[in-house]
Symmetry: C2
Subunit: 240 residues, 2 copies
DNA sequence: CTAACTTAGTTTATTTTTCAAACTAAGTAC
DNA sequence: GTACTTAGTTTGAAAAATAAACTAAGTTAG
């Protein structure tokens, strides 16, 4: 079947930059190996064509699940890439999304038009298909900027985590060491973490586990116009 | 002439939310009256269809100039709106932009497929065509958020301005009174404003005019990864 | 059992920043 | 001249951020 229009139209796709955090608190990106041309055999961001009658957000979620099996995660629109020659097949405009995943609770399974899906360390990325390197770079920039004033980092952690886990997360994303004592007091002073039981089976004093209280954050945000979850540190001279 | 594709494709448009500041430091939005259906006679954001082979940013700038005569201004991508039924003509995906204009230096002239273009006070907006009310709301949100950490407010002012002008701008955008003395010292401490001559013909002590040093800001941003232009004030108790 | 070790978590003092008040300055209007 | 208006500075007090020293709670080795 064919579709005919009076004026030429671009094709529209969605692409997802999925971030995860591994056991050593390293940041990782989920990539798929393309099965078909163009760029068959190359690594690329998961994504695909938007269906007619399908909302953009839904298209992003659908493609992600089809290609990697991952669903029910934090996902947000990033930017729309529309350089005329970004795709050798012709004019293709791509609406990019970025997503945050708790790596341990969302195992991946490759599927459909992808040969395989794999988590890559951010420091060991292969060259990517299309303009996906640029997309990824912008996603990373956005993540670094947003984590400073929105509590989205928790999406990368399991439900219960220690303050050390949380600090490692921020240090990884921001690429900067933070002062342990100040991090603790700053985070706890916000009153958005709920203390749980202690850790078990660790060869040292066990830390308390915490849960992020999302409902409370949302209530405060609504009431104050904007509750600013501010994580920003100016390191002063030396440290410890 | 007709264009045929194997799969159906959405049409892609761009829309621009253009902000300006009037003489009384009120925030205004530039709207056009639509000449054709759908929504003929209604007010809408300037915009139109993306040409094949034309980059998205260029399409936004071109449409803006065609419909209002405005060019060479600050413009940045906002968000892409793609709800399946947002346009009665069928599936139309719109890449929205927002722009900041110095009102006095950019007079408007309506043209082409718009009957007229007009600046509306943000508090006196007419109902808009399509989902443009939603687009506008998001642009306003973005402007309020971005003005806190990027020096984009200067785009709304003439080249030379007083500190009182600048403060009025921030008070308008943020919808909040700021302390005069702290505003002065905070802004000047950044070292990005260059003092010029004094005001003339004002019925009181004339203020110094200032210029924003964009080059210096860019140099600092590159060197420090991110120079944070932070304007944030927590009012403490009463005031003056 | 005890001492050594490791990471967790608290208290406190100091430095830095933020904020508001009182004050001085420079013009116009009468 | 005097009164009035807005511009701009100096200063001290309050709050917040930061670093240091200290205490706590577990494991492991002997």
């Amino acid at each position: 079947m064919a579709y005919t229009y009076e004026y030429p139209r671009p094709a529209v796709t969605v692409d997802c930059v999925v971030f995860g955090l591994d056991d050593s608190a390293d940041l990782r990106i989920l990539l798929i190996e393309r099965a078909d041309d163009p760029f068959a055999g190359h690594w690329a961001l998961p994504g695909g064509f938007v269906d007619m009658g399908e909302d953009l957000d839904l298209a992003a979620k659908r493609e992600l699940e089809e290609e990697t099996g991952i669903k029910d995660i934090f996902i947000e629109q990033l930017y729309t890439f529309g350089a005329p020659n970004r795709d050798p097949r012709g004019r293709v405009i791509s609406v990019a999304y970025y997503a945050l995943v708790n790596l341990s609770e969302h195992p991946i399974k490759a599927a459909s038009d992808a040969r395989q899906a794999k988590w890559f360390k951010i420091s060991e990325l292969p060259p990517l298909a299309f303009d996906h390197n640029k997309v990824l770079e912008m996603a990373l920039e956005r993540l670094r900027a947003k984590v400073l004033y929105k509590p989205i980092g928790f999406e990368l952690l399991p439900e219960k985590f220690t303050l050390t886990d949380l600090q490692n997360l921020y240090e990884t994303i921001l690429g900067q060491q933070l002062n342990r004592r100040n991090f603790r007091s700053k985070i706890l002073k916000m009153g958005l973490l709920e203390q749980q039981e202690r850790q078990q089976n660790v060869p040292h004093r066990p830390a308390y586990l915490y849960k992020f209280n999302k409902e409370k954050y949302q209530r405060l945000s609504e009431r104050l116009g904007e509750f600013i979850f501010e994580i920003r540190f100016q390191p002063r001279e030396t440290e410890d």
